[in-house]
Amino acid sequence: MNARIFYENSETSQEFRCAERPLLAVRGLTKRYGERIGCAEVSFNLWPGEVLGIVGESGSGKSTLLSCLAGHLAPDEGEVVFATAEGPRDTVTMSEAERRRLARTDWAFVHQNPRDGLRMGVSAGGNVGERLMAVGARNYGAIRGRALDWLERVEIAADRIDDRPRAFSGGMQQRLQIARNLVTGPRLVFMDEPTGGLDVSVQARLLDLLRGLVREMGLSVIIVTHDLAVVRLLADRLMVMKGGRVVEQGLTDQVLDDPRHAYTQLLVSSVLQV
């Protein structure tokens, strides 16, 4: 799928948002660890082209929620309905084979630690090409061309294409992971603290890059972070979690500038002091 076409599609879908189905409709999602609650009764819609931020401190359930949404964890209750090409489907009840197929076609997942999302023993080009090959690309020259194009987009020099990620800095590894995920034009991207392990200066560059890609490709993204600066920059809408529950949600600016819930107020004030 070509990025330009994708961009145009998402433009139209934004215009007709009200008439369309949401890309992802989550209802009553609950995950327990024995007695303890991972996340409870989470419901929301994600519309095409929208970036949803999920914030909260560690232990708030945001990572559990993301794992349930992406199919890495099986929730105890609730549904996660994704608008597949064949119509809306509950990904919780689908077979694992179907879910894994989604994960390598329509979905993408950017891990906090690039080592979890990259093949460290495979060249940068091979890393970017894997998803293309997984969905049937069989022309070496074309795969390599796409890989080169994507390395450029994430600001990795073309002459590093045959190097393994081991030889890359943390920031480069993370950019490579992003390229590897976006190369097939996924319709929904999950991100788990994508700037988490990086130095502040490297974070800024990565955020800038991400913002560019999100705008240019009209990506639909669910991003989990404890860093309010990240959502301020990237997210259209925000969900604040505490103790496994959503305590507040709304447009990003609204939530951050005029927090209603005491916990959100605390989160926001603690950041503003920095």
Partner: protein, 286 residues
């Protein structure tokens, strides 16, 4: 050897193996687990092939055993003797006369025909093994048809060497479904896997797997459109029989670096020479 059953294995075990073979035939390229028995020869020396052969043999069969294409290599001799002793079946070196051919590392040059069975000895049946060492994970990858990684390996080869650097044990896809390890045959033999009129059975004893290609199964060697699979061999003709279409062994003939090339398939070479065909050095050879 009268203490042992026909073809060594007891009937119960043979039935178990036949069930695994039938399942393999029903799902071409799928690795069927089977309770491999300890055989009186070491694991890794053809115990899988021997068990498959034992399960297929009937007293009327004519057996041929080759290793590296030759009937007279020591391990081929040893396995042939085993079946002569335990099953008393007729043996042959002529490919066309055999009803069952057990092989290690080669497919005979003489085209096989309907009704013949070719049994391969397989050391590592899992084509994904060296990309993913865990059996639990590779079985899942097959189940979900997650074969992207296989092409990543080929991609890496081309990126590093400019070409796919796999010369034997070259992975194939069966009827567009399972990726399969053809056993360590040279890639020269890969095209013979596809559309073959014979039944092809693969036995891996130590790894406890059987798989199969029923007659006329479509088998495609993995490649890229712009780096297509090429079935290569040494760029020579056989020095004994002059064949230009057979896989060749390279033989060093002196300490001056002189060498000659001869057919790896000894039966094919002998048949050609018997028909009067002569290669570069064939006149001098015994």
């Amino acid at each position: 050897m009268s203490d042992y059953n026909f073809a060594y294995l007891d009937e119960q075990t043979k039935r178990m193996i036949r069930r695994a073979i039938l399942k393999g035939v029903a799902i071409p390229g799928y690795q069927v687990p089977f309770a491999s028995r300890e055989m009186p020869m070491p694991y890794g020396w053809g115990t899988g092939g021997v068990q498959v052969t034992a399960a297929c043999l009937t007293p009327d069969d004519v057996l041929k055993v080759i290793d590296q294409g030759a009937d007279d290599t020591t391990n081929a001799v040893s396995i042939r003797r085993f079946f002569q002793k335990t099953a008393g079946v007729e043996v042959t070196e002529a490919t066309a006369e055999a009803t069952i051919i057990q092989t290690r590392h080669r497919i005979p040059e003489t085209p096989l025909t309907e009704g013949q069975i070719l049994v391969y000895q397989v050391p590592i049946p899992e084509p994904l093994r060296f990309l993913e060492p865990r059996e639990t994970e590779t079985r899942r990858m097959h189940e979900l048809e997650e074969y992207g990684l296989m092409h990543v390996k080929l991609y890496e080869d081309i990126a590093r060497h400019g070409t796919i650097a796999t010369s034997y044990d070259y992975p194939v896809r069966v009827e567009g479904r399972y990726v399969m390890d053809p056993s360590p045959i040279p890639k020269f033999d890969n095209p013979k896997l596809s559309g073959n009129p014979a039944l092809q059975l693969f036995g891996a004893g130590r790894e406890q797997r059987i798989y199969a290609l029923p007659p006329y199964t479509q088998v495609v060697s993995l490649d890229f459109e712009d780096h297509p699979f090429v079935a290569s061999k040494a760029e020579h003709d056989c020095d004994l029989c002059g064949a230009s279409d057979s896989y060749l062994d390279e033989v060093i003939t002196d300490d001056q670096g002189n060498r000659m090339f001869v057919c790896s398939d000894t039966d094919y070479c002998r048949t050609r020479r018997a028909a009067g065909l002569v290669g570069r050095l064939g006149g001098e050879a015994a």
